[in-house]
Symmetry: C2
Subunit: 283 residues, 2 copies
Amino acid sequence: MVLVNGIATEALGVRDRGLHYGDGLFETLAVSQGRPLCWDPHMARLLAGCERLRLPCPDADGLRKEAREACAALPLGVLKILITRGAGGRGYRPPREPVPTRIVMTRPWPPYPPGNTETGVTVIICQTRLGTNPGLAGLKHLNRLEQVLARSEWDDPGIAEGLMLDATGRVVEGTMTNLFMLSRGRLLTPALDEAGVAGVMRRLILETAPDLGLPATECSLNLRDLNAADELFLSNSLVGVWPVRELAGRAFKVGPVARRLRQELGSRGYLATTAAMDKRSSG
Amino acid sequence: MVLVNGIATEALGVRDRGLHYGDGLFETLAVSQGRPLCWDPHMARLLAGCERLRLPCPDADGLRKEAREACAALPLGVLKILITRGAGGRGYRPPREPVPTRIVMTRPWPPYPPGNTETGVTVIICQTRLGTNPGLAGLKHLNRLEQVLARSEWDDPGIAEGLMLDATGRVVEGTMTNLFMLSRGRLLTPALDEAGVAGVMRRLILETAPDLGLPATECSLNLRDLNAADELFLSNSLVGVWPVRELAGRAFKVGPVARRLRQELGSRGYLATTAAMDKRSSG
């Protein structure tokens, strides 16, 4: 189902700045039993992003209503919300009073191999680097060609994700996930002040970890730092937590911390239910 | 007029990867007396960009026919062509056999102050920096949020353009133009191997300058280099050549080289006719 500004349609105005410039933001939410998960933190990120790009914030109640309508019949799936600056302006120059476009659409749950969560995933290092830009860093904006190029680098279904570095060799994130490493009882994740997407699941992990006795810190990490990890794992709103069992040919322990974190995130209602996912995988 | 895959419509499919990821390219051409100008070099750039992004190239003859149809009734205007990877794929991963979307649309000529060409323009230095990415550098792709942010930095109609640097302070280009400097009888322009758009007018200037006895070179330039310029000017397919009379508060000579170049570009048929522009400005 697709709603564009509240109307069921598959058509977008061809002059939309979302198309011409990627002038907008998006959110990707897991849907379980007809409900989008982690609604509040997703909305918080969307509204913060609108402020940074000086996009008028969508009405949160109206958006919630549309999201519920789109998800109602979906036992397990994905909800994508896009907010663009609409049409208008002169070239790159935004219109003085933009009328944003609001797109609410659902998709089937991606066919992730069910073993990823338990036995871990194989990850490569992408050749494609992420450009740095403090003004855009952290935002889930619509300029995603770097991710498209990076994801085009491999075709092997045995590789679940590719890690992206910036031009100076700092680790930033996966093409569609954030990265965490466990080091001496502490959780570390790349700081995203110059590049990367500040994932909602990443934020929820940073908030949840201290409750499990795990201090969690954002910092600068390079590949050598990762080699010293006790555990490595990836996160996003759909997959929850994927332990990394192999990165660039090097083996890592699929350890207890990723599992404990995932259980805690699940018990807080942040993850699409294992039950629904198992049902889908076996059916 | 808008043609989407050859059909007159204002509607684009809402699942298009051009919207979701900026996964595509565009061209902006001047239209004069019903004809798009510099068609061949624009097509050469578009096809080269398609190869770099591994987009199927559009049929050049079919595209030309659509462009002529869209421009036929336009004495002076702008033709924009967009090629996206269409719908499909899984997330960032492109579809194995993409079916591109082809958009051909016209716009009125922008109301540039007619004095810009003769008396020069005032330019600022943008705070927004350009991220570097050799895989995307030079391409006129649809990820243009950096330009949107940069163009949002000023509102003063007396400022015609903003110059953008990369994170290390190298000068790259204007938000919508390329930059040239004249130094000791040589023409220099920033190399675009890490960031920037390789403009068609930039290429035509690099090809034309030697015929006027001006050696032309791509190189690394910083702001201190620009301060030593004998002349500075901006270029794109619509404005042709705009001399810079002031950059970040520093005055520059509106000199004879920019004028000579512009005359030569005009005589080769690369620029929208002065006659048509003067008519528009006075009428």
